[in-house]
């Protein structure tokens, strides 16, 4: 089975894509919930600085030391951002936008100066090339395994272990930082650990999807999940499902149209997000519209019931409890009046007798309930 996997280039690419998505979802969920998603954009860019520095020191491009070294650059970004914010001279968004371009610029200039012939060219920096992951392999026993598969697999396991081990603490620190602090949980430290893992994931995913596409994998699947559920563990499940679905469908479409695979996978995360945004069961736009329409219709029927009830048996019953009166007194247009009456009789709240409208006992009950919700009957 392993041999089958390692012979199948398509499967390897999809697997790496899914692993990038899963590892990113595991950390990204907390970033999205905390409202600090854009840190992943900053981190994604400034690890370029870290990668170049580490390369200048060690002249090696991959391996755990490189990942850790470059990941520290990501944490440095966040540290510098928080430092700037703490001076109270700039707001958080401006601070993020000041720090990462500086680090990124220094990284690019260092590349210009010292590393013209390294494979970290400016194209890779932003886009990566997930289609080539199978070319860069290491030999493990009898197998030649793609390097990205190993590093992404390791990062995914690491992130998963972190989330599982500190699930309670992370949950508390995310939703109630003050309480977490009061309980002695050091939410700040936990946050930095999370960002270190985010940076590590960025470095590991760098060759495959580059700096900008990485942002899509961190933010979009958790956001999609956030539109679908209120439960934290379900958010992980949905996010992971979106990651897998995006990498499979993205790969298929990219091959069919002969376009960038990483790019198409990221576009697919956006497509799933749009689906959740529009058709999500509870927070989706359609569901919201339907709910609002249902509410409005319900209110119309209630209005009608109260109107009929108020004039029932009174002297003006003959001219009030007819469809025409709804137009004049409730200011409903003809179509609406007819529609509401129709729905009212469908729900067996009113009966239509020619022009005249009469409440059924159910309708009368409803009107009484509205006018006297506590159930106290006057006289």
């Amino acid at each position: 089975m392993l041999t089958a996997l390692l012979d199948n280039v398509a499967l390897q690419i999809m697997l790496v894509g899914a692993l990038v998505g899963i590892a990113s979802t595991l950390v990204g969920t907390f970033l999205v919930l905390r409202g600090t998603s854009m840190l992943s954009d900053a981190i994604g860019h400034s690890i370029v600085f870290g990668i170049v520095i580490v390369w200048l020191i060690t002249h090696q491009q991959s391996g755990p030391v490189q990942i850790l070294g470059a990941a520290l650059a990501g944490v440095l970004t966040v540290f510098l951002t928080e430092l700037l914010v703490s001076t109270r001279r700039v707001k958080k968004d401006a601070a993020i936008g000041l720090v990462f371009p500086v680090l990124f610029s220094i990284g690019v200039l260092l590349l210009n100066l010292y590393a013209r012939d390294v494979h970290i060219d400016t194209h890779t920096v932003l886009l990566g090339e997930i289609g080539f992951v199978w070319l860069d392999t290491v030999t493990l026993g009898d197998y030649r395994v793609p390097r990205s598969l190993l590093s992404m697999g390791a990062m995914t396991l690491l992130n998963a272990a972190f989330v599982v081990l500190f699930f309670k603490e992370l949950k508390l620190a995310t939703f109630d930082e003050a309480l977490a602090k009061a309980l002695g949980l050091a939410p700040g430290l936990l946050f930095y650990a999370l960002l270190l893992l985010t940076s590590g994931t960025a470095v590991a995913a760098f060759d495959a999807v580059g700096a900008v596409l990485f942002v899509a994998f961190v933010i979009v699947p958790p956001s999609t999940a956030y539109l679908l559920t209120d439960r934290l563990w379900l958010m992980f499940l949905y996010g992971i499902a979106v990651s897998i679905a995006s990498s499979v469908s993205g790969y298929a479409l990219a091959v069919a149209w002969d376009v960038s695979i990483g790019g198409m996978m990221a576009v697919m995360t956006g497509v799933f997000l749009m689906l959740a945004f529009l058709a999500g069961p509870r927070y989706g736009v359609v569901a919201q519209l339907l709910r609002r329409r249902g509410q409005r219709r319900h209110n119309e029927i209630r209005t009608l019931a109260v109107h009929l009830y108020n004039h029932e048996g009174g002297p003006e019953q003959g001219e009030e409890n007819v469809i025409r009166a709804l137009r004049d007194h409730l200011r409903w247009d003809a179509a609406k009046a007819v529609g509401v009456v129709q729905r009212g009789s469908d729900q067996r709240l009113i009966v239509r007798e020619g022009e005249a409208l009469r409440l059924t006992s159910r309708g009368r009950e409803m009107a009484r309930e509205i006018l006297d919700p506590s159930g106290r009957r006057s006289a």
Partner: protein, 381 residues
């Protein structure tokens, strides 16, 4: 190369002029973006310009700068709209909205880019230069377009100055005055997209964020009024742009975009350090002064209290006792008091143990101490 030679070089002239235009437009428009806490909107819009660049190319069939910039403007503005819809109509927060639009639009751009490369069109070369900018490829004709966009943006700002100002500082009040706040905000957002479009050629999509933010943040340190801030931001933007462009021309081989960004960012650092009122240096100085004043007042009032306590207006206090009382060496403060004529170093009365000389308040010192205590009492009340 001498400066004269440098300035007479056709390519360098173009690059410097382009960088100056970019600095001008992003300084002015960035001021509004930063004040309205929309700094990262520029980042999102510049990334989202990529699919527009590609679409413009596909539709025009050539690397025609006009249609490319039009495409960039269109998708940049569309991204802002999508971001707005995502955050207004769902539970997603602003940062997630920005990140989603940024990355997904950029991904669409990447997909279109590879599609164009697959078309085997000879003129597609240099399209991905928009990612990092390619200042050296700036043509005179590009400059005219960039200049035109800058002029339009500046004219709009001048014409709608009062409206923009009010919307940036107090949108609720602007609404109550019956201003079309939503439209003004849309206009400001579209203008950020204009700045981004100017910047694509010079610094590329990635670094545009800093170009919008840095001049404005630097200018903010020096000024309180919007008028001064916008002018100063424009100046800083232009200066940083020109400096970065020249540096890149001199260094041969260092990318222009990053050098421009580092130039304007250093201005931010310097401004934050030395700007009067808001600079770190001045703040530190203020703190030292305040601490010194406090020590001085403390020692003075201690002398006074001891005198009152002993019912002796010229009660002599020992230096060692004062040191113990304040937990630190008070000699420097006492010398200061002596110089101002508030305290005196007197010989001790005969026959008493302890050091030969002690501190005594002068009448001026007593008056000053009473004044200080009075002021403190007022603050307590």
């Amino acid at each position: 190369m001498s400066v004269v030679e440098l300035l007479s070089d056709y390519t360098i002239q173009n690059v410097v002029a382009g960088a100056a235009l970019l600095g001008l437009v992003s300084g002015v428009l960035g001021s509004f973006a930063v004040l309205r806490q929309q700094s990262l909107l520029g980042d999102t819009m510049s990334h989202a310009a990529l699919p527009g660049v590609c679409l413009g190319f596909i539709i025009a069939g050539t690397r025609d700068i006009g249609s490319i910039l039009l495409g960039a403007l269109a998708t940049g503005a569309l991204a802002a709209l999508v971001m707005l819809l995502l955050t207004r109509m769902s539970r997603l927060k602003t940062d997630a909205g920005l990140g989603i639009t940024l990355s997904v639009f950029f991904a669409m751009g990447v997909v279109l880019l590879t599609h164009i490369q697959g078309m085997n069109n000879a003129s597609q070369g240099g399209l991905d230069a928009f990612l990092f900018g390619q200042a050296a490829a700036t043509l005179r004709s590009d400059l005219w377009i960039m200049g035109g966009i800058t002029a339009v943006a500046l004219l709009l700002v001048a014409a709608l100055w009062k409206e923009f100002k009010l919307v940036s500082f107090d949108p609720e009040f602007a609404t109550s005055l019956g201003m079309p706040v939503a439209w003004l905000e849309v206009l400001l957002t579209v203008m950020v997209a204009l700045a981004v479009v100017v910047g694509l050629q010079m610094v590329g999509v990635v670094l545009m964020a800093a170009m919008i933010i840095a001049p404005a943040v630097a200018a903010r340190q020096w000024s309180r009024r919007l008028e001064d801030m916008v002018l100063l931001a424009a100046l800083i933007g232009v200066a940083g742009g020109i400096f970065g462009a020249l540096l890149s021309a001199l260094s041969r081989g260092l990318a222009t975009g990053p050098l421009i960004i580092l130039s304007v960012s250093s201005v931010v650092l310097v401004s934050m350090t030395v700007a009067p009122e808001r600079g770190f240096l001045w703040e530190a100085l203020r703190r030292v002064r305040a601490r010194r004043r406090l020590r001085y007042q403390q020692v003075l009032t201690t002398l006074y209290r001891l005198a009152v306590h002993h019912d002796d207006p010229v009660y002599p206090s020992e230096q060692g006792m004062l040191d113990t009382y304040h937990g630190l060496r008070t000699r420097a403060v006492l010398s200061q008091l002596e110089r101002r004529g508030l305290a005196e170093w007197q010989a001790s009365p005969h026959g008493e143990p302890g050091p030969a000389r002690r501190w005594v308040l002068t009448p001026a010192g007593i008056a000053e101490a009473e004044r200080v205590l009075d002021a403190l009492g007022r603050e307590d009340a």
